[in-house]
């Protein structure tokens, strides 16, 4: 018997969600809840922040190259566009990449190592993005400098604590881009985190590493772990050459934060230093990142995923542009 349950948080404000009816295997809109959500933007609704601020989220994976840094950059900028203040920390001591993705590599003068040594203050090491002033970047170290492992984790805790007590107020989100592996860099990055986003791809090697990392995170006391499946190809899923997102979830047993399709625009945006979510019009992957950021804000998770691409049905009036499909809130859907 197929059953579906939602993962709820006590502080979550939910609006219309979709429930699953086993008979016809479709989703029907439930009765609208009485909770009223105030709209801060004139035409679009702003997501309601849930949980205690600042929310310190570590974005990790175990395996390298699955999209942690891309996720950090895009989700971080999406959060800034929603109106939340974000500080993104690149916790990779030796190999720094987050600044490249954001196009801020020429503006990083000071890092946390300089702050620890007393060469600058913490606010001087923060790089504010000129496109979205609510987004700031902080790098742990420059590529050739070494950081003592003795207080690597402590230093991050001090940094987060200092950010909480800064004059302009604590940031709403602190995103920590974790390095690959499970050694000292990983331990340093997860030290101040309260929740984690596990990025994985639908292949067996990534899944095994992700499972290991999840176990380590739970051992360290981080219980709120959500999963993002990256580089999904629906054509390969249809041809059964790739595991589906549901298979991945069955193997890892984690709630889904987002599903990001394979998109060549990711590589172009990386090379340009212009994150995907800033593209106009938005791409498929960009929309998926934005929706994942929305769920992160509201501590929500997906309840339906996209399986495969289908041929588009053209109605009689499709010649005139648009179609008769109505727009609805698709918050819980895969894309």
């Amino acid at each position: 018997m197929v059953s579906l349950s939602f993962i709820h948080s006590s502080n979550t404000l939910k609006h219309s969600l979709y429930s699953f009816t086993p008979n016809n295997k479709t989703l029907k809109p439930p009765k609208p809840k009485t909770t009223k959500i105030q709209s801060l933007l004139p035409y679009n609704r702003k997501p309601q922040l849930s949980g205690e601020t600042p929310r310190v989220v570590v974005i990790t994976s175990g395996k390298g190259g699955v999209g942690k840094t891309t996720t950090t950059a895009n989700v971080g900028l999406s959060l800034a566009r929603f109106g939340f203040s974000v500080v993104a920390i690149d916790a990779d001591v030796g190999l720094r990449n987050l600044d490249l993705l954001l196009g801020l590599e020429n503006r990083v003068n000071y890092t946390v190592v300089e702050v620890l040594n007393g060469d600058c203050r913490l606010d001087q090491a923060l790089v504010r993005d000129r496109r979205w002033s609510k987004f700031e970047l902080l790098c742990i170290s420059k590529p050739r400098s070494k950081l003592s492992l003795g207080f690597g984790g402590k230093s991050l805790v001090w940094v987060v604590d200092a950010l909480k007590s800064r004059q302009e107020g604590p940031p709403d989100f602190v995103l920590i881009d974790c390095p690959a592996g499970i050694d000292a860099g990983f331990i340093t990055a997860i030290t101040p985190a309260n929740e984690a986003v596990l990025v994985t791809t639908p292949d067996i090697t990534s899944l095994r590493d992700a499972d290991r990392v999840t176990g380590l995170l739970e051992s360290d006391g981080i219980r709120d772990i959500k999963m993002m499946v990256n580089r999904v190809r629906t054509d390969m899923i249809k041809g059964e050459d790739m595991m589906s997102v549901l298979d991945v979830q069955e193997m890892l047993g984690l709630a889904l934060l987002g599903v990001i399709p394979e998109d060549s625009e990711v590589i172009r945006s990386t090379n340009r230093g212009h994150p995907l979510v800033l593209n106009q019009p938005p791409t498929l992957a960009g929309l998926a990142f934005e929706q994942a950021a929305w769920r992160l804000v509201e501590e929500d998770s997906m309840s339906a995923v996209l399986l495969e691409e289908q041929p588009k049905k053209r109605g009689f009036f499709s010649f005139f542009g648009g179609n008769l499909i109505t727009k609805r809130h698709a918050k819980v859907y895969g894309y």
Binding site: S3, I187, E250, A304, L307, K313, I325, T326, K327, A330
Partner: protein, 347 residues
């Protein structure tokens, strides 16, 4: 019949046939024949004469030849044939085309305008796509200039990723269209019980304690430390070190500092200042020692080094504040004092 004649009058094809005939004199001339009715033919011939009149008074109008007459007969046959075709058309078409000739012209004009508008829009779109590098719009697009601070550009509009024209859910909620592609939906099947099972499995498989002590290869474990909490760092690790050059308390204070000059900058500044002060003090003393008269005396003493020690003594006695005085008792008065002064002069 009159109407048929009228139709015929309008539907005679405008196919002027231009033939170039060479007269017996070898002069090419152009003869234009029109297959109109007689009245129009007369008018056109008159025009031809008027045009051909510009050829010159010496040239004569070409006289119709026998060949010309034969061809005229052929043309008449063609015309008659065409008239028969026209007569065979349904009267409504003819009627419509006759009545709506003006509308046809209007329709054609509208189509032309629409094509022109489409061309202009494509041109504008292409121009927007490939804007000149270095333009202000390019700077705004690259993020060097903020668009919200500029009065000329529109502010970036945020679009809800769910309530978005690019995201459309069908009525049955079984498919969703995103960015023009349609996908089939499937519900998530993970339950809380299954999640708990996975957590138990992982807690059994991965036992891990956070390391509190970091040791290099070869170091001994302290006696009161849990071995599980020790982390060994290889000696050749490129980006890791167990040695810290800075005190932990000091590092923490540096992180929490919100105002003022950072610690190291301040320390360096103070050290530089001290050094400068010390140098300045030294220079003052040096200035006091090296007096112009004294310098001359020293020069003399240098020159007269071999001569007498007494003159040197006298000059030194005159200058009571000389720096070299305290050195004198320490060194041999003759040679070293003079050599030291010479070294100073050389310096």
């Amino acid at each position: 019949m009159a109407s048929v004649w009228a139709i015929q009058y309008h539907f005679v094809p405008l196919q002027p046939s231009i033939r170039i005939r060479v007269t017996k004199h070898g002069i090419p001339s152009s003869v234009v024949q029109f297959t109109y009715g007689n009245r129009l033919n007369t008018k056109r011939k008159f025009l031809c004469r008027a045009i051909n009149a510009s050829m010159g008074p010496s040239e004569e109008l070409p006289q119709p030849t026998v060949d010309q007459a034969v061809k005229t007969d052929n043309d008449d046959a063609v015309t008659k044939k065409f008239h028969r075709i026209i007569n065979s058309l349904p009267p409504s078409v003819a009627f419509l085309t006759k009545r709506h000739a003006g509308i046809n012209f209007a329709i054609g004009f509208c189509i032309a305008i629409a094509c022109f508008v489409v061309a202009v829009r494509v041109y504008v779109w292409r121009k927007a796509m490939y804007s000149h590098p270095g333009s202000v719009a390019d700077l705004v697009r690259r993020g060097q200039l903020r668009s919200d601070r500029r009065g000329i550009s529109r502010p970036l509009n945020y679009e809800d990723p769910f309530n978005n024209p690019l995201v459309k859910v069908d009525k049955g909620n079984s498919t969703v269209e995103i960015c023009g592609k349609v996908y089939r939906l499937a519900p998530v099947t993970l339950t809380k019980e299954e999640q708990a099972i996975h957590q138990k499995r992982r807690s059994r498989a991965y036992q891990w304690k956070r390391p509190t002590i970091f040791l290099k290869d070869g170091d001994s474990i302290p006696p009161d430390v849990d071995p599980d909490a020790v982390r060994w760092i290889p000696a050749n690790h490129p980006f890791a070190t167990t040695a810290s050059d800075i005190d932990e308390n000091l590092a923490q204070n540096n992180v929490y500092q919100k105002h003022g000059v950072p610690f190291r900058i301040k320390a360096e500044h103070e050290a530089l200042q001290k050094k400068l002060e010390a140098l300045q003090n030294e220079q003052k003393l040096n200035k006091l020692v090296i007096d112009s008269s004294n310098a001359k005396d020293f020069e003399r003493s240098f020159k007269l080094n071999s001569k007498s020690w007494e003159t040197v003594e006298q000059s030194n006695f005159d200058n009571q504040e000389a720096n070299s005085k305290p050195r004198k008792p320490d060194h041999a008065p003759n040679s070293f004092g003079s050599s030291s002064s010479s070294e100073k002069e050389r310096a």
